[in-house]
């Protein structure tokens, strides 16, 4: 319950860590050597495999080791055998075993760490790494879905009704294949780890969205108790999912530090980010729709194949969209992961949903044109009243409102339905739409809150802030619950010694950690009130606790504001001089009783140069039903980032693998393209007012993922409307539009 006359939650508070960030004083993982505890560190530079599959036949380190300042060159030839106890964090694939660093001679993918050069300076380590000569017995790797490294993994299936029969009877049938290329996250900040051993205790300064899994994994790798590992990650310069798992370089840093008995810093190069920190997997999605003459989809068959590595079976929630977006009584789905000689894919913004939305929302658009029905109208005709997969009601689902507001804002009704009907000079202009959904995930979280004698509060949780503004939004929640101005609340995160948090991903941080912070601060406030009303020296002595509220750092009677005292005065009389509370949040059975998702309607206006094939987004608008918005300024920044990421997915991003040896053929940001400012002229987002109290105590549904979902199909649909050309492979390039 908010205590403030004017709650700070819901207001556009600027980032509380903004000044630190723009003045360069926020220390990111690789900058933690400014920290006194890390002085004396040395540098590790990883040597990666230059074949895509095979065995290492020799490693000549003589030249490298002879360089001035070089302390060690570590590879499977001289690394200790590490325990690698079984460990599977929430973010790790359900099947398979993680890559074990320097434990054998096998090469599983191009770019695999095969050695690390450790030296006094970064320059010496880099040079030494370039001098390590590795020879291989190489084989041709499997890098394409049609020529896998082994049999497909077991398929994941879903069925309702009888899709095959319904297809037979359908008025209109449409069978299409869509292909999504591999994408890398490429946050601005490179992944980096500094590791330091003190006897058997390991401290790691890491770039991480999930310090708890880094701790668990390192404990397993080295066979030490989790309590002996301390992971610190106060600032993350973007991650988009790449920081959820502990990747091999984290173990490399810890291993190297143990070998040279000095703190070791390892920072990946941009090139190493392509194979070292996961990616959105290459996916082929075959979709067959059957519909009646009024556009009601009666049957859908989804046949999906996506890449994974040979050593782990990575899967994402690719089936959800096909089950709950439209009424469709008859659905059959099959999803197989295909083992390839590649590194393991991982969660990337909007995992599963952003991928599945492309085929589904493009196919709905194709169906709309086929039947001559407006694309929005077609979707509304298939809008379910309850979750068609589970039969349970939606906690909230306001997609109709999203469409109505979006259509009005972009002037959808003035849009001529025929492709190629709008032209400006040599530009063909089209408008497209798509639905975005992302399930509302919540997970157990705990927090610790303290009010000190000076009347300031500190709240802690081992969560992360990879960019959404966790520091700020949690400060807002805490300030309101404690009845303190935001400026007197400090939220701390990114430390494995702090209370438990779920992974900072899957759009669950606000709901989970936010609810935990609220609960904890509610407890602390009540504790303070209980103390005051029981204290004969307090002006509030004897008052019913339920009549006391806290505002602006002062406890007072609701109906008699003059009878009050401050946290500071209250604590000055206590023996500890401080108050502390622990609290948390554990989701109940809401997810069984309700279908909970964030929704959006995405509108894109795209201009395509008729002769030169260049597609340029002119306008993007997302209208979101994401529950309560804690901070509209942060939410907007979140939404703009997601929408821009969607432009990249639609038109630019493409990790190219050379099938001959598994080499990444565009391993830099000049060849792996992301949108520039010039590519994002008019991008905007609107949020429906309201909340979702069925989902979690603070009424949020999560925003980070849903804002990238549906962007690529909206753009593809706009390109069709502009040109009459349907492109089913991402990214949509110039050559596809010539």
């Amino acid at each position: 319950m908010t205590q403030q006359a004017r709650p700070v939650a819901g207001t556009p508070l600027s980032r509380v860590d903004g000044r630190l960030k723009v003045t360069g004083r926020a220390a990111y993982a690789a900058e933690q050597d400014a920290h006194a505890a890390v002085r004396g560190e040395v540098h590790g530079v990883i040597v990666t495999s230059t074949v895509g599959k095979g065995r290492i036949t020799g490693i000549d380190t003589a030249q490298a080791a002879a360089q001035p300042g070089v302390l060690a060159v570590i590879s499977h030839l001289n690394a200790p055998k590490l325990p690698y106890r079984p460990y599977r964090g929430e973010v790790d694939p359900a099947r398979g075993e993680r890559l074990r660093v320097f434990q054998d001679d096998r090469v599983r993918f191009f770019g695999q760490p095969v050695a690390v050069a450790v030296a006094e300076t970064l320059e010496a380590a880099q040079h030494a790494a370039s001098l390590v000569q590795v020879t291989y017995a190489a084989e041709r790797p499997a890098t394409g879905l049609d020529a896998p490294a082994g049999p497909p993994n077991q398929s994941e299936n879903y069925q309702r009704g009888n899709a095959d029969q319904a297809l037979q009877q359908a008025h209109t049938r449409l069978a299409r294949t869509y292909r999504l290329t591999r994408e890398n996250h490429h946050p601005m900040e490179m992944h980096a780890t500094i590791a330091r051993w003190d006897g058997d205790r390991l401290t790691v300064w890491d770039k991480s969205q999930f310090v708890r899994t880094v701790r668990g994994e390192l404990a397993a790798v080295f066979g030490i108790p989790a309590e002996s590992v301390h992971v610190i990650s106060p600032f993350v310069g973007g991650a988009f999912g790449s920081g959820l798992r502990a990747w091999p370089h984290v173990a490399v840093a810890a291993l190297a530090a143990r070998q040279v008995r000095r703190p070791v810093k390892v920072m990946l190069t941009r090139k190493q980010m392509f194979t070292g920190t996961g990616f959105r997997p290459l996916t082929e999605y075959k979709l067959t729709l059957g519909a009646d003459e009024r556009g009601r989809v009666t049957a859908a068959v989804h046949d999906i194949r996506a890449e994974t590595s040979t050593y782990e079976d990575y899967r994402e929630a690719l089936l959800t969209q096909g089950q709950m977006t439209y009424t469709t009584p008859n659905v059959r789905q099959s999803y197989r992961s295909i083992p390839l000689d590649v590194s393991t894919p991982t969660w990337m913004r909007g995992p599963g949903a952003a991928t599945a939305a492309f085929p589904i929302e493009c196919a709905m658009d194709e169906l709309a044109y086929e039947l001559g029905i407006d694309p929005i109208e077609l979707r509304l005709r298939n809008e379910p009243e309850r979750d068609p997969g589970t039969g349970v009601p939606f906690s909230t689902r306001r997609l109709r409102e999203c469409f109505r507001i979006g259509a009005r804002t972009v002037g959808w009704d003035e849009r001529a339905p025929q492709p190629r009907s709008k032209r400006e000079g040599h530009w063909l202009i089209g408008t497209g739409v798509a639905v975005a959904t992302y399930h509302t995930a919540r997970a157990p979280a705990q927090a610790l809150a303290r009010v000190e004698a000076d009347g300031r509060a500190t709240v802690q949780c081992a969560t992360s802030d990879m960019g959404p503004g966790t520091y700020t939004s949690m400060t807002q929640i805490a300030a309101d619950a404690l009845g303190l101005p935001a400026g007197r609340v400090r939220f701390e995160l990114g430390d494995s010694a702090m209370p438990l948090a779920p992974p900072h991903g899957g759009s669950m941080t606000m709901a989970s950690v936010g609810s935990a912070v609220q609960d904890t601060c509610d407890k602390l406030r009540k504790q303070a009130i209980a103390l005051a009303v029981a204290d004969p020296a307090s002006p509030l002595h004897g008052a019913p606790a339920g009549d006391v509220v806290v505002r602006d750092g002062r406890l007072h009677l609701r109906d008699e504001p003059g009878r009050d005292e401050s946290y500071r005065d209250l604590l000055a009389r206590g023996k500890d001089g401080r108050l502390e509370a622990r609290g948390g949040y554990t989701p109940g059975d809401e997810a069984e009783r309700y279908s909970m998702h964030a929704y959006g309607a995405v509108f894109a206006q795209v201009a395509v140069d008729e002769r030169l094939g260049m597609a340029r987004v002119r306008r993007l608008l997302g209208v979101y039903d994401a529950g309560r918005i804690i901070n509209p300024k942060l939410a907007h920044s979140q939404a703009i980032g997601g929408l821009v990421g969607g432009i990249g997915m639609a038109l630019l991003e493409h990790t190219v693998t050379d099938p001959r040896d598994g080499r990444i053929a565009n391993p830099n940001l000049a060849d792996y393209l992301v949108p520039t400012n010039a590519d994002v002229p008019d991008v905007n987002a609107i949020y429906l007012d309201g909340d979702d109290r069925k989902a979690d105590p603070i009424g949020v549904k999560g925003l980070a993922e849903v804002v990238i979902v549906g962007v690529a199909p909206a753009i593809a649909n706009a390109i069709f409307h502009a040109t009459g050309r349907r492109v089913r492979d991402l990214p949509i390039t110039i050559e596809a539009l010539l």
Binding site: S130, M614, T676
Partner: protein, 325 residues
């Protein structure tokens, strides 16, 4: 990065002496430092020429002289360049990023090395980097590679936008070396790969580019540069076209057309120029001329679209610069 020595000579004579001893010249460093980090370039000594007085832009009897050390951003902003040669200004402003244009020099731009990812990856076969090792791009991922001027030894494009404009302006490169000064036409200075892709230019040991000269062009002159790419800024060209036309009495008296992104060197489209010369501008003429733009093109697996894209780019830019009256 391999260790290297660094010197900063006080004058041109000292620079030439250091160059004659085998030093590598460095100016803005936007290509060289990048490639040193990738260990593609491993110079023993860097000779920093950025302090030499070679950055002026001025009119001379032989035409407009642009000092080799003039920065891209400064040349693009130069009033004389802006009024006389829009094609040059556009080629500069559409290149790289503002930050790079503030550092990179005109001489360095001409000498910039290819973006071929196999060239930039020391673990891949590349005849340009290691003669005789093969060309990984020929049967590899070659979307950005050349369809014109390539050989079995090398299919890498010359990445510069500026040199495409310079080629269309008949620019000459002024060189100074141990044996004195000389001048070479830009289109002859940059070499097609043939069997020796490691030889990228006609620069003799120790020689320094001192300036680029654009000879006087007949007036009135119309010119412009068009760059086609996947995103709106900060990307090398898939195709680009520089058009320079001299029209009097409604007739094209002289035409210069050059293309980028498609050739191993900036590519003069002589056949297009011949079609244009002596003709009156019309949509039909532009189409006919563009039709021969990709003559001799040898497409690879991923870049076959460039032949058609080149024709369309030429047609569009002829229309933009030449109009249709």
């Amino acid at each position: 990065m391999y260790p290297f020595a660094y010197t900063k000579p006080a004058d041109t004579a000292a620079a030439l002496a250091a160059g004659a001893r085998g030093g590598r010249y460095i100016a803005g460093g936007t290509t060289l430092v990048d490639l040193m980090r990738e260990t593609v370039e491993r110079p023993g000594t860097l000779v920093d020429i950025s302090g030499l007085p070679l950055d002026d832009v001025r009119d001379t009897a032989r035409g407009l002289r642009i000092g080799a050390l003039a920065r891209m951003a400064d040349v693009a902003a130069h009033p004389q360049v802006r009024s006389a040669y829009p094609v040059l200004v556009q080629s500069l402003e559409l290149a790289a990023s503002a930050q790079l244009r503030n550092m990179a020099t005109i001489g360095g731009n001409i000498l910039q090395r290819t973006r071929c990812t196999y060239f930039r990856d020391v673990s891949a076969a590349c005849n340009k980097r290691r003669p005789g090792s093969g060309c990984a791009a020929l049967d590899g991922y070659n979307r950005s590679h050349a369809i014109l001027g390539a050989s079995d030894a090398c299919v890498a494009t010359h990445p510069s936008d500026l040199t495409v404009a310079l080629a269309a302006l008949d620019a000459k490169v002024r060189l100074l070396g141990p044996d004195g000064e000389r001048e070479v036409a830009l289109t002859e200075f940059l070499l097609q790969p043939g069997n020796t892709p490691e030889r990228e230019h006609d620069l003799r040991p120790g020689e320094l580019i001192t300036a680029v000269e654009i000879p006087p062009h007949p007036k009135p002159l119309r010119s412009g540069y068009l760059k086609v790419r996947d995103r709106q800024s900060y990307e090398f060209a898939l195709t680009s076209v520089a058009v320079v036309l001299h029209l009097t009495g409604g007739v094209i008296r002289r035409a210069r057309v050059a293309a980028g992104g498609v050739g191993t060197v900036p590519w003069r489209l002589n056949a297009v120029e011949r079609r244009l010369t002596g003709e009156r501008p019309s949509q039909r003429l532009w189409e006919q001329a563009a039709e021969v733009a990709a003559e001799g093109a040898r497409p690879l697996r991923h870049n076959a679209f460039k032949a058609e894209l080149l024709k369309r780019t030429v047609e569009r830019q002829l229309r933009t610069v030449g109009g249709t009256r």
